[in-house]
């Protein structure tokens, strides 16, 4: 018999796992076994009803009725325990289904191939076989059913009567409805479960994707932080290298001229003593300015630079700046023009820092302009950032190329080496001015044309430094700006030697 195949297969496979304890096996019964048990009980009852409706009115063949009763009352439980006790419960259940098929064949024959009864039986057993064992198994089931029918015909005689009584028809129709309902429902529930599983898997997939995205974000953030730390470190190194250079240059003059004067005095014929002493003094003062500027920069960098915010009168500040800077302009024979809009009113900010910024810009303007004009124009303006006061320092001097303008605000950067030799300066003035300005919520910008002159604009919002929190955040911005600038400058350093900042070199 073909049904022997899977059974012997299961038995042959069983010794391969002898270590598995028996109780665990009985407990892990295949879900199909339990399902079939609960299907088989009502099914056997329906078979009992259909067969009963045919044979009970005839009051004969007690053997057949006994068979039907046995099948209806005993078989479902027997089949269940047979499968449960088996080592391979699924294989045992398939064997049970083949027995079912065989028995259904028997009943079909005994029902004289009554069309409705046969249809009911065939439908139910075929549906069960298909759902549990698949197409090949259902074909085996059909063979078992034919075998059953043949055996019954041989044993009890071959009778054919396609018609059936009203009760038999009713039971048969009831049987068909029952079975299609059971299998239909089962299939529906399974589909729903499958969809739910699929959805759960999809949700898990989305969750996993989200997690991996977060991990990637965290990794990127860590990488960014590492790069920022490295950039800050490189910036510090570059800054120190520059500092070393800036300090050595005036020290060279101080030490060199001191030794020279000492030698000349020892020889008894000092020449040009006053000029040499002036050079020492100039270098010493330059060194002091440099150190003060560097200290200011490092204070800003460490977020320790504090602003002394007060409300002051703008016109009064301009007047003070005008009188302080007057001496600057005679040196290069420049005309100084101050132009104030009427009703400028007052401004809130650090007046000392602002004066320092303006004097720095005016001193630069007069340094780079000869026989020309330097102007300071102050106006109240509204732009994208809101209300502000703009101080414009315009000169008709040598001007700059766009490349020179671009790196002007970086520490230790001047237009070029020749500029430094000719005009001096620490290379820190504009860097500091910009940072002070940014601390007050504003900025310094430059527009320049080579040979025509430059305009530096200091823009400050009209309510500066109102809140402590603002000042802190500005410090942080400044620190980042410093790091970025130092980083850029380091790149430039690699390409070309830094311009020296020796003020009295030429």
């Amino acid at each position: 018999m073909s049904a022997a195949g899977p059974i012997s297969d299961a038995r042959a496979a069983a010794p391969a796992s002898p270590s598995v304890p028996a109780p665990a096996e009985t407990r892990s019964v295949h879900p199909i076994v339990r399902l079939d048990y609960f299907v088989r009980i009502p099914a056997a009852f329906v078979v009992f009803l259909v067969m009963g409706s045919i044979y009970l009115p005839q009051r004969r063949t007690g053997l057949i009725l006994a068979l039907v009763v046995l099948y209806g009352l005993v078989w479902p439980h027997a089949a269940y325990f047979l499968a449960k006790g088996s080592r391979d419960s699924k294989a045992a259940e398939l064997r049970n289904l083949l027995i079912d098929s065989f028995m259904i064949g028997v009943f079909i024959a005994l029902a004289s191939y009554s069309l409705l009864a046969a249809l009911a039986f065939l439908t139910s057993v075929n549906a069960a076989n298909l759902s549990v064992g698949g197409v090949r198994f259902s074909l085996k089931g059909v063979l078992a059913l034919i075998a059953g029918a043949a055996a019954a015909s041989l044993a009890f005689g071959f009778r054919v009567n396609p018609d059936s009584g009203a009760l038999t028809s009713a039971f048969s129709i009831f049987a068909i409805v029952c079975f299609t309902t059971i299998f239909g429902l089962h299939s529906h529930l399974q589909t729903r479960r499958m969809l739910r599983t699929k959805q759960a898997v999809q949700e898990q997939k989305i969750q996993i994707e989200e997690q991996s995205r977060q991990v990637e974000q965290a990794r990127a953030a860590a990488e960014e932080a590492r790069e920022a730390a490295e950039a800050a470190n490189r910036a510090k190194s570059a800054f120190l290298a520059n500092m070393s250079h800036e300090l050595r240059t005036p020290l060279n003059a101080i030490i060199g001229y001191s030794e020279l004067i000492e030698e000349e005095i020892a020889d008894g014929n000092p020449e040009d003593l006053i000029a040499d002493l002036q050079k020492i003094r100039t270098s010493g003062k330059h060194l002091l300015r440099l150190i003060n500027s560097v200290l200011d920069l490092s204070k800003i960098e460490a977020g320790k630079m504090t602003l002394f915010v007060e409300t002051f009168d703008i016109a009064q500040l301009v007047a003070e700046v005008e009188s302080t800077s007057a001496a600057l302009f005679s040196q290069n024979r420049n005309r100084f023009v101050v132009q104030c809009d009427p009703g400028l009113g007052s401004l809130k900010g650090d007046v000392t820092k602002l004066k320092q910024i303006l004097l720095n810009l005016l001193s630069n303007a007069s340094k780079f302009t000869e026989n020309g004009e330097v102007s300071l124009r102050v106006s109240r303006e509204v732009d994208a950032d809101g209300n502000g006061i703009v101080f414009r320092v315009r000169d008709s001097g040598i001007g700059m190329t766009p490349e020179q303008s671009a790196k002007l605000f970086q520490a230790f950067t001047q237009a070029d080496a020749a500029t430094t030799r000719k005009y001096g300066g620490t290379g820190l003035g504009l860097a500091l001015s910009r940072r002070f300005c940014q601390m007050m919520g504003g900025d310094v910008t430059v527009e320049s044309t080579l040979g025509k002159g430059s305009v530096f604009s200091v823009r400050l919002p009209t309510d500066v430094g109102n809140e402590e929190g603002d000042a802190t955040s500005i410090h942080r911005v400044n620190f980042r700006a410093l790091v970025e600038e130092e980083e850029k400058r380091r790149g430039a350093l690699r390409e070309k030697q830094q311009p020296p900042q020796n003020p009295a070199r030429g």
């Binding site: 070393s244 250079h245 080496a417 009295a504």
Partner: protein, 115 residues
């Protein structure tokens, strides 16, 4: 002013000094006067000290003249850059005159004025 200072200090020690204000001038003067040694500031306008040294070292007439680089950049890599450009030695600022003189004498040998 450092050029002026070094010129005076070397002159006092018996050297004849010819000073140039930028790299281009330095190359043309060295080609014309063929000095025994060149002290090359690396941060020169017009033509920087690296390029000026390269030109001196690539010209037949000036190739053999020893060059000592002078720079306020005192890091090891600055020295290496100078030597890579063809300088024979390197000295950092502030200048220690005795140290510089020893370097000059080391390169000039008997041609150097007696200390």
């Amino acid at each position: 002013m450092n050029r002026d200072m070094l010129t005076r200090r070397l002159t006092r020690r018996g050297y004849a000094v010819d000073a140039a204000g930028d790299g281009e001038e330095a190359v043309s003067r060295a080609g014309a006067s063929l000095p025994d040694i060149v002290l090359m500031d690396l941060n020169l306008p017009v033509l920087d000290g690296f390029e000026a040294t390269r030109r001196l070292k690539s010209a037949e007439a000036t190739r053999a003249i020893p060059v000592i680089a002078l720079s306020a950049h005192a890091m090891a890599e600055d020295r290496e850059r100078a030597l890579a450009a063809g300088c024979d030695d390197f000295d950092s600022k502030p200048i220690d005159l005795d140290r510089l003189l020893r370097k000059i004498q080391g390169l000039l040998g008997p041609k150097a004025p007696a200390p």
